[in-house]
């Protein structure tokens, strides 16, 4: 009996697995401006959800952070990385939308700095717990200690001035129904959030529809910029991310329409091969299964007639 207790104690005393660590390497992309680029993969226990781009701007009145990453640990690592670069405190954290990979590092930052569109905060309040359950399932131990923290400050479209930097904010809807886009006019850097993916397939669980998203992308493409930081994928300095989004979304929309008009089942649509011209877009086959689930039923219903009662 005693022996078993001792063995049990010994086992419990073992360090609970080597600590998981994100190795974040901020890259300076403009004066005062750093980007932390994530992988273009799906969530996994290997990558810990480091699949997202975050960024920060060091103004002379404090640091502006754009998105906080997928977990408390990521948020802490991001905050540490900022402290290595500047002594300025973080005064503004702009959450582009409510998805967990962008807002689950909120805990690591001062609560009064957390800012978002009011619709984003409402969506995070609604979906946060379900997202959290799913994140524990997908990345496991990386989530340890992570809790949903809601933004406390409301953002509105229009100008935002922080120290020597002037920002312009827009609210779009195409990706989640509330999608913040930020232009730092001082450096010409456009932070597009998940309105723009580059070399990574779009995700659509809360999208109002591909048509809405594409119309808004046309508006977004009008904004002049020196460089664009997408929510996922590498930074670009020209319109190639817009061109890729346009080609891919046009293909996806046409696939759903023609499949619905041929009476195809969701299973048949899900296994459509991705055309070779989209080889540079990571996770396209995986996201096609998800997007078919989210969006295809609308196309299917539209291809049917209302049948009158006899």
């Amino acid at each position: 009996m005693t022996r078993w207790c001792l063995i049990l104690l010994a086992v419990m005393a073992l360090p609970a697995q080597a600590a998981l660590r994100y190795h974040l390497e901020p890259k300076q992309i403009a004066p005062d401006t750093w980007m932390v680029e994530g992988k273009t993969e799906n969530f996994s226990k290997e990558n810990g959800g480091n699949i997202v781009n975050t960024a920060f701007i060091v103004t002379d009145a404090g640091v502006v952070v754009i998105d906080t990453g997928p977990s408390l640990q990521y948020g802490d690592a991001l905050h540490d990385a900022i402290r290595k670069i500047t002594d300025q405190p973080v005064t503004h954290v702009l959450i582009t939308h409510h998805h967990p990979d962008h807002a689950f590092g909120n805990q690591a930052f001062p609560e009064r700095s957390l800012s978002a569109l009011p619709e984003t905060t409402a969506l995070l309040e609604r979906d946060g717990e379900a997202f959290s359950d799913n994140m524990y399932r997908m990345i496991g131990d990386w989530m340890r200690g992570t809790q949903v923290v809601l933004p406390t400050q409301e953002l509105a479209p229009g100008p935002l001035i922080v120290g020597n930097h002037t920002f312009q904010l827009w609210g779009f809807t195409g990706h989640t129904g509330a999608d913040l886009v930020i232009l730092d006019k001082t450096t010409g850097t456009l932070f597009a959030g998940d309105m723009v993916f580059y070399n990574r397939a779009i995700t659509t669980p809360q999208s109002p529809g591909l048509d809405t998203w594409q119309q808004e992308l046309d508006l977004l493409a009008e904004i002049p910029f020196e460089r664009l930081v997408p929510g996922h994928g590498p930074m670009v300095t020209d319109d190639r991310a817009f061109r890729q989004m346009h080609a891919y979304m046009t293909w996806l929309d046409a696939l759903f329409k023609s499949s619905a008009n041929r009476g195809l089942t969701a299973n048949e649509v899900m296994r459509t091969p991705i055309p070779g011209r989209f080889d540079s877009i990571a996770e396209a086959s995986y996201e096609l299964i998800r997007s078919t689930t989210h969006l295809y039923p609308r196309y299917e219903q539209a291809a049917l007639r209302m049948l009158p009662e006899e």
Binding site: N134, N267, M270, T293, H294, E300, Q301, L304, R305
Partner: protein, 256 residues
């Protein structure tokens, strides 16, 4: 050759020894559900011609598309039964065809990651089983329907949309019904779902329905039925009845 192999498998099964083949997916529910739905003495063979399709993972646990594709199964079919091994009520649907039916598709609810089965009974009574696996976060069976939290659900209740798609897809029929399909597994929401569906031939004057289907609680809300009947005329009557006695009857046809 294949037929001989099947006969042999059937003969072995009929001795009552090692009645069921080994489950390629190793599900703990394999023997139990085979016995439950096909019977203790059923002759069972694994058959790749029974093509059961589900996505590798359920993006939405309350709406998982399942397709039984029998276009490669060239023998006459008596009956088809599908079930979801680890659901609280595994049975999804059973149908009896009077004509060749190459495709049947319907969404189901999934409670947890599970194997899914389609068993096809041939004329000699042997069951041919196809399987697939779907990963899932789960909870689809015990999540309330959207209709149960929508005060205006009756506005759309019983609305039916449909279409026939032909000839590019042979005679493919789609019927979409607004129905909560409540499983009865959610507190204070009683079971309320379509139990029976028939496809009748309105042109040929046949008495027996071309297809008779019964549905169980695993069927998803607002079902989108897809059927492909390559040898049947493109004019059908679809008839359904739910467990509250509501009946729905519509004409579907004229190839688009």
């Amino acid at each position: 050759m294949l037929r001989h192999a099947l006969l042999l498998a059937g003969a072995l099964a009929s001795t009552g020894l090692a009645a069921y083949p080994k489950d390629p997916y190793g599900s703990p529910m394999w023997d139990y559900n085979l016995e439950r739905y096909l019977g203790e003495k059923a002759e069972v063979v694994l058959d790749d011609r029974v093509n059961l399709e589900v996505p590798p993972f359920a993006e939405d646990s309350s709406q998982v598309p399942l397709t039984v594709d029998l276009s490669g199964f060239d023998a006459p079919v008596q009956k088809v039964i599908t079930w979801v091994d680890l659901n609280p009520i595994p049975h999804l649907f059973t149908y009896v065809p009077q004509t060749r039916v190459t495709v049947v598709s319907l969404n189901f609810r999934v409670q947890q990651a599970t194997t899914v089965r389609a068993a096809v009974q041939d004329e000699s009574g042997v069951w041919h089983v196809g399987s697939a696996h779907v990963d899932a976060a789960g909870g689809g069976c015990t999540a309330p329907s959207q209709a149960s939290s929508d005060p205006n659900w009756e506005e759309h209740f019983g609305q039916i949309r449909g279409g026939a798609f032909s000839p590019a897809n042979q005679s493919r029929l789609k019927v979409y019904v607004r129905h909560p399909m409540d499983s009865g597994m959610v507190g204070n929401i009683p079971a309320f779902h379509i139990e029976t569906l028939e496809i009748r031939d309105t042109a040929g004057g046949q008495d027996e329905p071309l297809l008779k289907m019964t549905l169980s609680e695993s069927a998803a809300e607002n079902p989108m039925f897809v059927f492909e009947l390559p040898d049947a005329p493109p004019q059908y009557e679809v008839w359904m009845r739910d467990n509250n006695g509501n009946q729905f009857q519509r004409q579907v046809g004229e190839a688009l």
